[in-house]
């Protein structure tokens, strides 16, 4: 039996939780647990670690650095309150019999979001939400071996919206107290866990970083909702043109995020970003019940770079039209193995997922001696792409071909200055993207410690860019595709326009005879993976596309179209999708 309770909570009266998904990802959990992050493999270090934990480490920020931090903080009431409270914590936070902190950080994220969604021509969601999360991390131990583990990974709370210094400092005070106590629990738990493993770790728990003071202008969400709402309603009205459209929604998600950061090393930063997204989403079913979906999206760093109302309307019409064409399209054949040309849009998905997700320097589970996680954990200095390709991640690049890159930032969420990182050079994996948690051979952050509001930082791409020594025009690529097919005696090969989860949404047969294209449906890629990128990618286009994305942090991928000499295409396993039991209602107007 569950416990049913009489309570005084005022806010859950009725279905509010349903809105949770529409609001932002501030994961307001006090503590985030993550698998233990350390694998010690060196007895000497272990000894040092235990010695350091009983010793009382005191924060000794050089006075001139701390004074400079104070000066920077005095320019903003929020930073000032954070600095004042940190100043107090760093000198006075100490319980008997347990170590004092060696590092404290406060991060406040001010999040302002406007979300609206229309379905079938009418608004269903329309809201503006603002919140401030504070995240406090207290580390005990030392840079070599510390408490950043399990409950020691930070405490989260809400902060006052109105720059009230007293209220903010009270929240920080309580969060700091909890974080300090948890840090000591975490340090003990971590030691107990690591005692199970004999190997030590030849790298620190926490990378030192240069104190940085940088106050950027605040970013504001300055938008008049009315024309946007009208645009959503109008574009989602396109369902009227096709009775077989089963769902059609237009969504917008605009957000401005400002981050205030202060740590005991003397770093004081303030920076922000805005990101604007429009998403169309439509679904229909083919006569055999197969569900067909499209969800084109547009993400930009400025409002001006979003499609105009006319363009967006045209996109909605085009989407409904492709859904209609998909319904009528033939099913893909049972088996195909041969050349496939990926549009730049599809290529961005591939590079984002298969490279972007695998070049992050993150700690493997305790006891696991791997360098990092993911498919490139043991690929350091190995070839992961064809030798004619390189990839860099450059958050410092602001625009590309005139487009604002949403993955740009000057300072990451750990208060470290962003830097350009040559990730893959001539096909060889040369660098991982690093936050302040070191891994083997990578003792320092390269300014890629990113975090969603309230969340713990995690390495992430910023602007991930594909660079090639050799490129072809799209026409040349298509000709190459057809030539290869002809060589293999195939009547047609494939070109994929858009992907969803690495499977085609829009896939075309390209006929060898005259180059004409035919839309097909029901296809999956059987073996598209990092090995395909290394071994089967044979040419790239000169048509790089800027793909701005809203992930847990905004990122940008820039990639051209790409040609694989061999990818397997197979038929989607069909669930017994049923057509609607009865027809949709007639339109009244």
């Amino acid at each position: 039996m569950t416990a049913w309770k009489m309570q005084s909570l005022p806010w859950i009266a009725g279905g509010m939780l349903l809105l949770a998904c529409c609001v932002f990802a501030v994961p307001l959990r006090a503590q985030e647990t993550k698998p233990a992050a350390v694998a010690p493999d060196n007895p000497a270090l272990n000894a040092a670690a235990s010695a350091s934990a009983v010793a009382t480490s005191v924060i000794t920020t050089p006075p001139e650095v701390w004074a400079a931090a104070g000066k920077a903080a005095s320019t903003d009431p929020v930073l000032q309150a954070m600095y004042e409270e940190l100043d107090r914590s760093k000198s006075r936070l100490k319980m008997e019999n347990v170590p004092a902190p060696y590092y404290i950080e406060y991060r406040l994220t001010d999040f302002d979001e406007y979300v609206a969604e229309a379905a079938f021509g009418a608004l269903e969601i329309h809201q503006r939400a603002r919140a401030r999360s504070i995240r406090v991390v207290v580390r005990v131990g030392d840079y070599k071996f510390d408490s950043y583990y399990g409950p020691g990974m930070g405490v989260v709370d809400l902060g006052p919206l109105d720059d009230n210094s007293i209220a903010l400092r009270r929240q920080l005070w309580m969060a700091t107290d909890r974080a300090y106590k948890s840090a000591n629990e975490a340090l003990a738990a971590k030691k107990a866990l690591l005692s199970q493993f004999t190997s030590g770790q030849p790298f620190n728990d926490f990378a030192p970083a240069t104190p940085l003071q940088q106050i950027d202008p605040l970013v504001k969400l300055d938008v008049n909702p009315e024309p946007w709402d009208a645009m959503l309603e109008k574009s989602s009205s396109v369902f009227r043109s096709d009775p077989q459209i089963e769902s059609l929604t237009s969504t917008l998600r605009f957000r401005a995020v400002n981050t205030y950061f202060v740590n005991s090393e003397g770093t004081v930063t303030r920076n922000g970003y805005a990101i604007y997204s429009l998403i169309l989403s439509g679904a229909t079913q083919a006569a055999d019940g197969m569900r067909l979906e499209r969800s084109p999206y547009f993400t930009a760093g400025t409002l001006a770079e979003l499609p105009s109302a006319e363009e967006f309307q045209a996109d909605a019409v085009a989407m409904v039209d492709t859904l209609k064409k998909l319904r009528a399209a033939p099913m893909v054949e049972e088996e195909y193995s041969g050349p496939v040309l990926f549009s730049a849009d599809a290529a961005c998905d591939v590079f984002s997922g298969m490279i972007g997700g695998n070049v992050l320097g993150t700690r493997p589970k305790p006891g696991d001696s791997a360098r990092t996680n993911g498919e490139f954990a043991s690929s350091y200095k190995s070839r992961v792409l064809p030798v004619f390709l390189s990839m860099v991640d450059d958050p410092t690049l602001r625009t590309f071909q005139g487009k604002t890159l949403v993955g740009s930032y000057g300072v990451d969420e750990e208060g470290v200055r962003a830097s350009k990182v040559a990730v893959i050079q001539d096909g060889i994996l040369e660098n991982y993207l690093m936050g302040r948690e070191p891994i083997r051979d990578f003792p320092a952050s390269n300014g890629h410690g990113r975090a969603a509001p309230g969340r713990q930082p995690f390495p992430s791409i910023g602007n991930l860019i594909v660079e090639s020594k050799v490129t072809s025009t799209p026409e040349e690529l298509k000709k190459k595709l057809i030539d290869m097919c002809r060589g293999e005696g195939k009547p047609f090969c494939y070109r994929v326009e858009t992907l969803a989860d690495f499977n085609p949404r829009l896939l075309y047969r390209v006929y060898v005879s005259d180059g004409h294209e035919e839309l097909v449906r029901g296809a999956d890629f059987n073996d598209l993976d990092t090995r395909s990128l290394r071994n089967d990618l044979i040419a790239v286009g000169n048509d790089p596309l800027v793909s701005n994305r809203q992930g847990f942090v905004p990122v940008t991928v820039i990639a051209p179209s790409i040609l694989f000499d061999e990818i397997e295409v197979k038929r989607t396993p069909t669930k017994n999708a049923k057509l609607p039991e009865y027809p949709p209602p007639d339109l009244t107007k």
Partner: protein, 571 residues
Amino acid sequence: MKQLARRPAVYFLLIVFASPLVAFSSGTPSDALLPVMQRELKRATAALSKADPAPYFMSYSAADADVSVIVGENGGIILDNQVHRRQGDVIMRVGSPALDNTHNQSRPSGITSGALPLEDDPDAVSRVLWQLTDREYEKASAAFLKVKTNTAVQSAEDDKSPDFSQETAQTHLDETPWKSSFDQKQWEDRVRKVSEAFLKYPQVYDSAVFLTVENSRSYLATSEGTALVRPAAVSRLVIQGETRADDGMELLRVETFQGASPSELPSEPELLAKVQKIGEDLTALRAAPVAEPYAGPALLSGRAAAVFFHEVLGHRLEGHRQRGETEGQTFTKKINQMVLPAFLSVTDDPTRHELNGVELAGSYDYDDEGVPAERVDAVVNGVLKSFLMSRMPVNGFSHSNGHGRRQPGLMAVGRQGNLIVTSTNTVKDSELRQKFIEEIKKQGKPYGLYFADIQGGFTLTTRALPQAFQVIPVMVYRVYADGRPDELVRGVDIVGTPLLSLNNIMLTGDTLQVFNGICGAESGQVPVSAAAPAMLFSEIEVQKKARGTDRPPVMPPPEISSAAVARGAKQ
């Protein structure tokens, strides 16, 4: 560690509120929505009657609500949002009333929910309803097949009642416009000011002031012909303070106020007085001795008794608990038997709006299944007579008595509305204390326990509780037989079977006190009231509460420089 997770978890719930950017048509009733729902329901009913298996019942409901939330802590506003939302629920029963898709554990298969257009665009509304209906049919028909199979292969259930009762269709269209007298700015200032008053109590480590103002209208259309439109308005203000004793024990005080509109909430001076009371209570509690294990006479204030009855008795009266295989079924076979002392009676009366001048939170005219609310005399002169019934029948009770309640998105079950405990064995409230002391002396005890306030089983601090219905005494005093002054104690935990202790009630006071709150259960959060007179128990058994292990904060709270105060105040 566990307690660290709690506040943020709560805020996660809070944060889902967000503000609409323009004022929607609040204030004007939406006369177009119901006809659109009815038209589409008729079409769906006709179309699906040819399906196999076919639904025998369908309902469309819409919950249209404007909600404002303001939360303040330490003089700062940490949340300030308004949202206008309209949720649609499609409920479907496939099979027959005797056995349908909602049988037993498969109850959630009866409902599919989604956002409805915020305005009455008939084409969009009917399209969304069609979509939800199609999805619900897929779910309900699959669940029905599973239910049929399970029923065939499993041993027969004790209670062979049908899954759905037959009730008369109702029509009631109350399209009274929403009252909207909410002065956002004024309330922001008030929440700021009231929350700031806690700064005077340095040992109140955590505190918050929550305000919600909700105006809503619910729409219901069923395939049986029921058509209801009902407005509702409720404003709630909660003040909470929290501290920790030096031994780590967590101490919490919560005060809740409720009215139809914000203007019915207490004035600022009254709220500030409450903060002062909470601050003083917590300061006293921190310094109070820890309760010792004790069994002996106890006196419960009316509010404490009301909460006690809601948790301990009220939930066991809920009809659906009498047939669930996983339920305790405490009362299932006790109809017409004594369950309370003969001088006590318990009714649940949602049709009552006010008691002793206090507006009752659990009032409604129709329940969420469209059945008219009824006063239910559940316990008469100590004898169990009836349960709080939704449209889920149980042995001996084949009809709803208008207690099927739910929050949007969930299936209704029998729930409490206004639970009212009355007594025929009363003394004047002023004489209760004397009776109490006499009883203490008679039993030869040095003291008895006076429970001035009992928190409901779920508050901001409480984690999942092992006990089914938990009561947390917060303000408990030792009342000495020898005339010494009363002594506040902390950490009291009632043990033994609370239900048995109800039979130790000897006599009661003569005035009913009301506790208004929100009750959470499997059908979600619903507003409820409980009312009871003060009660004298011959015996209640208590033990020391397990205490937290965290120490009080290491550092004192920040002292704010006058410059900072000025800056803070300006913002």
